[in-house]
């Protein structure tokens, strides 16, 4: 479904992503991990059309989507969330999600019904009429997912959706993501919370200095010497702090 082939993204002299490849099928949950500044979000931005890669191609659903605009890519069925949440603050939660639903329809009633469906899937029905800016951080993170879900994606890119959540909240979101995947939506997640990646992902890709240093099942990744040196060791020291 998603085929990323050797993408390169440079900013001036800095190579943020170098020769990165990845493939995803229907219903897959793949985790993308790596230390801060490893190029995870940059890779996301290239895939979702926010950056044009210096080299390499991105194919989605059998189509070359390299260089397409984000809105075109969204309409093809690839939706993303933002690491730093970007709610439409002045609008209600329902309106936020309706804007996502409008990607598939011009009709207000249909958009509203789809939005309500997405809100229910995220357990946010009660919050529909609230202004998005009044939501606490956990609510905003969920709103990001609900909005993206309302665009009816086949592939969902989740950029650190669980960062900053409390443990119980994280568990809820993990459960929701699992349900989405059961509906046949493929999921690529960037995540720092190792518990999340380990419990959700069937496959993990590790980025370091913009390059892929490992790929495999979670159980293999945690034993990988290179990964431990580059990343997992750092996580432990983070936790110790």
């Amino acid at each position: 479904m998603l085929e990323v082939q050797g993408i390169v993204k440079q900013f001036g002299g800095l190579t943020a992503v170098n020769d990165f490849s990845l493939s995803l099928d229907r219903g897959d949950i793949v985790g993308l991990i790596g230390p801060n500044g490893a190029g995870k979000t940059t890779a996301f931005n290239v895939i979702a059309g926010f950056y044009r890669p210096n080299a390499g191609r991105v194919h989605f659903g059998g189509r070359d989507i390299t260089g397409l605009r984000p809105d075109q890519i969204c309409k093809l069925g690839l939706a993303r969330t933002f690491q730093v949440v970007r709610p439409f603050g002045a609008l209600s939660v329902l309106e936020n999600v309706m804007i996502g639903a409008y990607a598939r329809t011009n009709d207000k009633a249909t958009a509203k019904a789809k939005a309500e469906e997405a809100l229910e899937a995220l357990g946010m029905t009660d919050l529909a009429e609230r202004a998005a800016r009044d939501l606490p951080i956990a609510g905003r993170k969920r709103l990001e997912i609900a909005r993206a879900l309302a665009t009816e994606p086949q592939l969902l890119l989740l950029d650190e959706t669980m960062a900053g959540l409390r443990s119980a909240e994280t568990d809820e979101v993990i459960e929701m993501v699992r349900k989405l995947s059961q509906r046949g939506i493929a999921i690529l997640l960037v995540e720092h919370v190792m518990k999340v990646v380990m419990s959700l992902a069937q496959r993990i890709v590790v980025l370091h200095h913009g390059e892929k240093i490992a790929e495999g099942q979670p159980s293999e990744i945690v034993r990988d010497r290179q990964v431990i040196d580059a990343y997992l060791g750092e996580v432990e020291s983070d936790a110790a702090r």
């Binding site: 926010f50 809105d71 002045a90 909005r147 993206a148």
Partner: protein, 364 residues
Amino acid sequence: MSAVKKSASSLAPTAGPLGRLWHAIWADWDLMQLAISVLLVVAIGFAPLVIRSPYYLGILILAVLYAYVGISWNIVAGFAGQLLIAHIIFIALGAYTTVVLYTRFDVMPWIGIPASGVVAAGLGLVIALITLRYGLKADYFALFTIALMVALKTLFLKWEFVGAAVGMGLRLNEPSWEKMIFSTKEPYLYIGLALLLAGILVQFWIYRSKLGKYFLALREDEAAAAALGVNTSLYKTLALLIGSAMGGIGGGYYMMYVTFVEPPQVFDLGLNVELVLAAPIIGGLGSLLGPVLGALINKPLAELIRGTLTAGRSGTTLIVYGAFLVISILFMPRGITGLIQDGYQRLKRRRAPERDEEVRRGNA
């Protein structure tokens, strides 16, 4: 049986079509704003029964024009968040189009005014294309529109065909409906009100539709909008097209009312503030009611200040008027509509528990 019926009717004390309409409006703040706007239009429609003085009617006519133009700017700046500061260029271009068509080509204003909308939209499209081509963001876009106004002023000052520095006026021979020339003020008022009513309805329709929600998404966060499938370039262009076309039409009507136009008068930031920006800002930028409410306060107030304070001392007007604008921005960031909305929501909350109580009693 009859007891049940009684309690049911007390549950809906305002049954009947009017009562139901009122309930529907009361429940929905957008509809509330629409209803207040339409009521204001109707009230102004009856004003000539009370106001006989042509001077005061003239102020009212301009207030109606300000409200309409305010709506056209509100859609671009308030909804879509595009800092189109020098919106006056579309009004100016509309005024010139109407007068040129009228005096040079004998086209009557009923056609000339819509044509002004088309010409202004043409300029709107050019602005949109340049803006997108060079990726002008927010403040740079604002500066670009101001620079364009200055350039157009110079162009019109030199352009003989449109009267150059002398300007252009209507030949005021016989008053007639065809030529939209009247000897009394009332017909101008009613044409203006028709325009305003159309503007109010268009604004409401946009706000409630996909188009309007996409505009709001652009204003709130462009990147998030793009990620959700909003073609940001297309919708920015649409916002500019709608705003400029409506502005051009307003300019055509302005021309017919003031009967004379010259470059320094219309390509002017002072007039831009008073005619375009003040009403939505005072009334509440981005709201449905703001431009209408703002214009009805802004225009009479501007006249009052001009009439009382400035006798002989030019410049005082601008200082006092400017101070008023600054104060209203500082203390009412959401405008008068914001204050009304807060009051409305407080009332609504106070009424809601009562209704719950009634329901409970009804069920018992």
